[in-house]
Assembly symmetry: C2
C-alpha cells in the first residue's frame, strides 16, 4: 500500500508504482486541502495520466527521479499547465514553455504535480520598508489563501507559501521555490521542513519569472536532506571539489552568527540558537561566536535599494500594458515614490559585490555558519508572511543556505536555523546539513502531522 | 507612395498607412532576400493582417510607436510567431509568451515583423578562446546564412546578424538585438548603422533566452539616433537627470581610448580613430588620449571566464535533455574541457564588479569616451562573425555603448566607433551620440544601398 508519508528517496527504493504514490498524495491533498490550501492549480486526472505514462516506461529507460512528484511554484514556466504568477494579467495568457529546471527534472523522470499557491512578489518588500500595513499592501492578501499545516491560524511564510506547506503536509515529497529575499528559507522554517537556496547563478534560471535579476535564486523544499540532494543531483549542481561524505560532527568547526538583525529576534529563535550551540558541542563540535565586520550591517539596506530598483525595471512592462491589473505595491516599485536613484542602485550593487568575496573568506574558516532563519516561529494571521530580514542578508551575498528544522517557538510552532557556506560550496553545505539534521532533531520540535 | 527608405521617425510624422509602409518593406525584402537573407522567419500575410488591424485603430487610441515595424532577434519570446533560438530542440516547441520588451513595444503600437536570422551564442566564444576554427565551431554555420548587405561576400557580424543586416538594407527601420560580448555593437559597425547597448539591467529581460545572466544585454538597431531614442522612450529608459538637449560639440570634452586590445586593430579602425579625433576637434571639441589603469587589461580574460561558466550553467538543461541536438560548442561549455573552476568564475565576477565603479568615475570626466567598435571592417567570408574583443570589454563593465558609423575600411566597408558613458547615463549618451553622428558622417563612408 503506497503511503503519502514516503520521502522521494524512500519512494524510489520502494518499487511502488508511480500511479499508486500519486494517488496516495492526491488523496492526502483531497483530505487536507480545506485546511491548507497549498495549490494554485491542480488537475488530479492529468497527474494520474502522466503517472500511468511513467509506469509504462521500461525499467532501463527510467531516469533518476522516475515518478518523483514535484510541486512547482507558479512562477516557473510549465508547458502543460498554466503559469499565472498569481496575476490577472496572465489569467488567459499563460506561457507555453518549460523552464530550464523543469526541463532537467522532467528529463530525470519527475512527475510535475502542479503549482502550489504563492504570494506575489511584493509581500517581501513590506517588512523591509518599515512601514505599517497600508491598503496597498492589504490588497495582496489575494495570494495568501495557504495556511500553515501545523496551525491554520498562522502563516506558512512566503512567497513560496504553497511549496513549503505542501511538503510539510505530506502532499508532495519535494517542491521548487525561489528566493529574492527570504522566500525559500522562511517558509521552510515556519513549516518545519528542510529547504535549500543554492549559490546565486548555480542553477539555470531560464523560464522563471524575473523579479530581481541580481537576487532571484531557485531552490528546493523537502522533508530530508537526502531528498534535496536527489534534486541537486538531477540539476547537476557541483562544487569544485566533491565533498567526502559522510561529514562528521565530532571535531567539526562551526560559527554562530547572530548578525546585525539580532535585536529583532524573539524567544523562539533565541532558544534555537542557544540550544543548537549546546547540541553541537555535546556531539564534539566546536562552535565559536562570529561577529561580522561592521560593514556587513549595510547589507540589508543595500539589498532593499537594489531589489526595489531591479523590480521597478522588471515590472515596467506589465505596468505599461495593464497598470490597473497590477498589484499597487508593484505599481509603487515602478513609480518609485521614494525616488531611489540609479546612483543609489549602483552604490548598493557595488557595495554588495565588494562584500561577497569577504564573506567567502570568513565562511571558509568554518564547516558552516549557523545563523537564524527567521525572527521567530510563524506569526498569527495570514496577511503577513513574516519578516525576511535574516534571510535577505545571505540572499544578497549570493551564498548557499540550508534551513534545518528542529526547534520550537513559544506556541509550539517550528523554528529552523540556517547553515551558510561560501559561494559554490553547495554540495559541501548539503553534506554538513545531512550531519547537522539529526543533531537538531534534539531541539524539541517534532511534526505531529 | 510609401517608401521603404523612411526611418521610424519619418514614418510616424508622414501620415502613411501602416499597411502601405509594411507592404513597401515586404517588397524590399522580397527583392533583396536572396542577397541578404536576414530573416529566420517571416510571414508577410500575417504582418499585413496585423498592419490592417493597426490602421483600424482610431487616432486617439494609437500608441507612440503606432505601426512602427520592428525586427526581433529570434531569442526574444514572441507569442504569435515561433521563437526557436536557431536550435532544433525548439523547432516544434516554441514558447508562447511575449518577452517584456515585446510587451512594451506592442503596447506602444509596434508592428512585430519577425525574427531576423542570427547565430547561436557560441560564435562569440571563438575569437576569445584564441583557438583556430575546428569542426565543432564549423558546425554553427547553420546560423550564418545572412550576408552583409553592402557586400554579400562579407559577414554582417553577429550574433544579431539579421537585425543588423535588415536595418542596414532598409528592410525594417529598427530591430532588437542582444549583446553578451559584441553582438549589438559589432554587427552595427559591420553594416554601417547605429546601435545601442544600454546599461546592463536597465531594460527588463523577461522572455529573452538566457545565455549569460551576468552579461546578456538587450538593445536596439536603427539608421538614426532619433529612431533609437524612439525605442528608448517606449521602453521607458531614463537617467537620474534628464539630459538637456541638444548637446553641443563645440566645447565638449571627449576621451579617445584605444584600450589594451589596440594591438589587434587594423587600418580601418586606426584611420577611424584618427579621423574622429580630427573631426571633433575641428568642431571645437577637446579630445584627450585616455590610457586606462593597467588593471583594465584583465577585463577580457575575466569576461571570458565568467561568460563560459555562466553559459555552462545555462545550457545544462538542453544538454541533459538533448545533447545530440545541441551545438558542439555549447556542449563544450557544459563539459568544460578547460576545467575552469567555480573559484575562477567567482574571481572573474568579483574582479569585474570592482572595476565597474572605477570606470564610472573615469567616464564621468568626459561627455563620452570614444573607442573602437571592432578591429576593422567586416572580414571576408561568412563562417566567422568577427572579433568581438573591443565590444566585450564594455559589455563586461555594464556601461552603455552606442555605435556611430561614418568611417570606411580599406575595402570600402563601413567602420563604426563606440561612444561610452558611465552606467545609467544612457539617455545622456544618446543625446551626445545625436550630436556626434553628423560629425562622423564626414568620415568618408556612405551607404550606397
Amino acid at each position: 500500500m503506497a503511503s503519502y508519508r514516503m520521502s522521494a528517496t524512500e519512494f524510489l527504493s520502494s518499487g511502488t508504482k508511480v500511479e499508486d504514490y500519486a494517488r496516495a498524495l492526491l488523496d492526502r491533498i483531497a483530505a487536507r486541502d480545506v485546511q491548507v490550501q497549498a495549490w494554485a492549480y491542480l488537475d488530479p486526472e492529468f497527474v494520474l495520466s502522466q503517472a500511468r505514462k511513467l509506469d509504462a516506461i521500461p525499467q532501463e529507460q527510467r531516469g533518476p527521479l522516475h515518478g518523483v512528484p514535484i510541486g512547482v511554484k507558479d512562477i516557473f514556466y510549465t508547458k502543460d499547465m498554466p503559469t499565472q504568477h498569481n496575476s490577472p494579467i496572465y489569467a488567459n495568457d499563460a506561457p507555453v514553455v518549460d523552464a530550464a529546471l523543469i526541463m532537467m527534472l522532467r528529463t530525470a523522470g519527475a512527475l510535475i504535480f502542479g503549482p502550489p499557491s504563492h504570494r506575489v512578489y511584493v509581500h517581501v518588500f513590506q517588512p523591509f520598508s518599515g512601514k505599517t500595513t497600508t491598503t496597498q499592501f492589504a490588497s495582496i492578501t489575494v495570494g495568501t489563501k495557504t495556511m500553515n499545516p501545523h496551525n491554520p491560524a498562522r502563516t506558512p511564510g512566503g512567497s513560496s507559501s504553497g511549496s513549503g506547506a505542501a511538503v510539510a503536509d505530506f502532499q508532495v515529497p519535494v517542491a521548487l521555490g525561489t528566493q529574492t529575499i527570504g522566500s525559500i528559507i522562511r517558509p521552510a522554517s515556519f513549516c518545519g521542513i528542510y529547504s535549500f537556496k543554492p549559490t546565486w547563478g548555480a542553477l539555470p534560471r531560464e523560464g522563471v519569472k524575473v523579479c530581481s535579476l541580481n537576487f532571484d535564486t531557485m531552490g528546493f523544499f523537502a522533508r530530508s536532506i537526502a531528498d534535496i540532494e536527489l534534486l541537486a543531483d538531477a540539476a547537476r549542481l557541483e562544487d569544485d571539489e566533491k565533498p567526502i561524505a559522510p561529514f562528521k560532527i565530532e571535531g567539526a568547526k562551526f560559527a554562530a552568527c547572530k548578525t546585525h538583525v539580532w535585536p529583532e529576534v524573539g524567544p523562539g529563535t533565541i532558544n534555537a540558537m542557544q540550544l543548537a550551540v549546546k547540541l553541537l558541542r555535546d556531539q564534539g563540535a566546536s562552535v565559536e561566536e562570529l561577529d561580522l565586520p561592521g560593514e556587513f550591517a549595510s547589507v540589508t539596506r543595500s539589498h532593499l535599494q537594489a531589489f526595489q530598483q531591479d523590480a521597478a525595471t522588471t515590472f515596467k512592462s506589465e505596468y505599461i500594458r495593464s497598470k490597473d491589473q497590477l498589484d499597487p505595491a508593484l505599481v509603487a516599485f515602478v513609480e518609485n515614490p521614494e525616488k531611489t536613484s540609479h546612483r543609489d542602485h549602483l552604490a548598493a550593487l557595488d557595495n554588495l559585490a565588494q562584500l561577497r568575496p569577504k564573506i567567502d573568506i570568513i565562511a571558509s574558516r568554518y564547516d558552516a555558519i549557523i545563523t537564524p532563519s527567521v525572527v521567530d516561529e510563524a506569526p498569527e494571521g495570514l496577511t503577513s508572511t513574516g519578516n525576511p530580514a535574516l534571510c535577505g542578508m545571505w540572499t544578497a551575498l549570493h551564498v548557499p543556505v540550508v534551513n534545518v528544522p528542529g526547534f520550537a517557538g513559544d506556541h509550539g510552532m517550528p523554528v529552523g536555523l540556517s547553515l551558510v557556506a561560501p559561494r559554490y560550496h553547495d554540495r559541501r553545505l548539503l553534506s554538513v546539513a545531512a550531519a547537522v539534521a539529526p543533531v537538531f532533531e534534539g531541539g524539541g520540535w517534532k511534526s505531529s502531522l
